[in-house]
Symmetry: C2
Subunit: 304 residues, 2 copies
């Protein structure tokens, strides 16, 4: 089995996880969450989102969070932005990276940002140069890259086209996001393979949701394809709080467990990660989907 | 990605799943469960266990279940047995296959069957010929083959040794069971690789628990290593009912979803499987860990 010796974990819980939480989490707890994640040795973090506070009230304290966290010198603090105002706010607050997003699916893009893909691209063409001029990295995510709940299958051609669009803007960091958990390991290896075949120098990251339980299998397939940046959310925070059974992101600590067990170095302190995930469950006030943090309790109970 | 064109699913819910359920399930519901699983086109099934009814009261109706289910002509109905009396009961009831088990871990074997591994082997040497004389297949499972909650790592040498012991008894069907969910994809590919390197003609099956969320990733690794018989439990039934958060077997329908999505033919009717899993949740009276059956509810809720 071909695996990378080392990968980087990009933590997205403070943004992708929290944005789905109906109950407001205090700014203090958000700051503590990010500080604790840094203490576990994670260095890439999507910390918040500079979007209209009315759209996502949970993340309306983005400036506070970015300016008050304790940032290790080698950290890459990122924030999601949607437009020029967001870019300006993020840069002013002092992020190292801004994250932009376009869906591979027209219908999902419309529902997510209320415009079609071409319009999204035009908007980015306006704001991306602004970000580069300020010296920040721009990372682009392709949402629904492995399937769309509204449109079904997404052609690899469509994903390749978007990668090309981003490259033309000067963006070299691209995240393929399985927004609805519709990807499978074979598809992951095909999409990654075709992208690197066409654009060998692009830096790919993968972002899997565990909606159908395939998140870690898809992460494995991504690593087998050579991808060394994997996104995850502490405790598996994310998904939709209005549908209690719906699961969201893969749990960072479960991904770390899988990697370290296979000898793939993540540099993450797993025990501290598990403690932080248990602390996060208390902050959020409900059970989170992460598995490894619950496994100890089941150790004593193992009939064949 | 190298995958088999076709695999066989071996359903273990009626035995491995139900035995962990504290609340008794009626014989009628067990029979309906198995009949429904057959209707989904699954043909290999571990239907019950002929062990001391005081040890596992849930499965004390083993004879009733085996004799009253509607068996398709091409089905392989299997039952777990622990001793000579169990073999006789199983054969009299009319199983096609008996399943025996030894743990790779001394400590786990002692806790599971109250004797050390050598004693277990001697007991099997007494009963296996009896089974073969009756014309049934004997399948041997190696429990804790990928790690033990009490002893930690299990050496591949120990697993290889047990496979050799089984082969000397004439057993050609061997299941490697990750009883405590401690395996990882790399370990799976190594163990399978070494076994087939030494014993190229053995028929291997894999049995994964999802305790740490790696069940499907491990199944993927198994298929990539060429294994074409995978065990799973409908709805993910299993684990320990006394620890609500502890998860057990991988969910059959999730495994089927992953396979079919990748074009690996299972011959299973996924939609009927999902319906049966939802029915099983009602029978058991609580939410089961299977993911795909819950995914539809989350379709309408997919922020990036």
């Amino acid at each position: 089995m071909n695996l990378p010796k080392k990968i980087q974990i990009r933590e997205v819980g403070p943004r992708d996880g929290l944005q789905a939480e109906k109950n407001l989490v205090s700014t203090e707890n958000k700051i503590e969450l990010i500080n604790r994640i840094f203490k576990c040795n994670i260095r890439m973090i999507e910390a918040t989102s500079f979007v209209n506070p009315r759209a996502i009230p949970q993340l309306s304290d983005a400036e506070q969070v970015i300016t008050r966290i304790n940032r290790p010198v080698d950290s890459v603090v990122s924030a999601l932005v949607g437009n020029s105002r967001g870019v300006q706010r993020a840069i002013r607050a002092g992020v190292e990276e801004i994250q932009v997003v376009i869906s591979a699916s027209e219908e999902h893009n419309r529902r997510n940002v209320n415009m079609d893909i071409i319009k999204s691209i035009q908007q980015l063409e306006g704001v991306v140069p602004e970000a580069f001029q300020s010296g920040v990295v721009v990372r682009a995510a392709i949402a629904t890259a492995f399937g769309c709940p509204f449109e079904g299958e997404i052609s690899i051609k469509q994903v390749l086209w978007l990668v090309g669009v981003f490259l033309e803007m000067g963006i070299k960091q691209v995240t393929l996001a399985d927004t609805a958990g519709l990807g499978d390991p074979l598809l992951v290896s095909r999409v990654v393979g075709e992208i690197w075949n066409r654009y060998p120098n692009i830096e790919l990251a993968l972002h899997f949701h565990d909606t159908r339980g395939l998140g870690l299998a898809n992460s494995l397939a991504g690593m087998q394809s050579g991808v060394t940046i994997l996104e995850a959310s502490l405790g598996g925070l994310g998904g939709c709080p209005f549908i209690p059974k719906a699961t969201g992101n893969i749990a960072t600590e479960d991904l770390v467990f899988m990697c370290e067990k296979m000898g793939v170095d993540t540099n993450v302190q797993l025990e501290e990660m598990l403690e932080t995930a248990r602390w996060l469950e208390k902050v959020i006030g409900r059970e989170l989907p992460g598995r490894v943090m619950k496994a100890e309790a089941s150790e004593s109970c193992t009939p064949i």
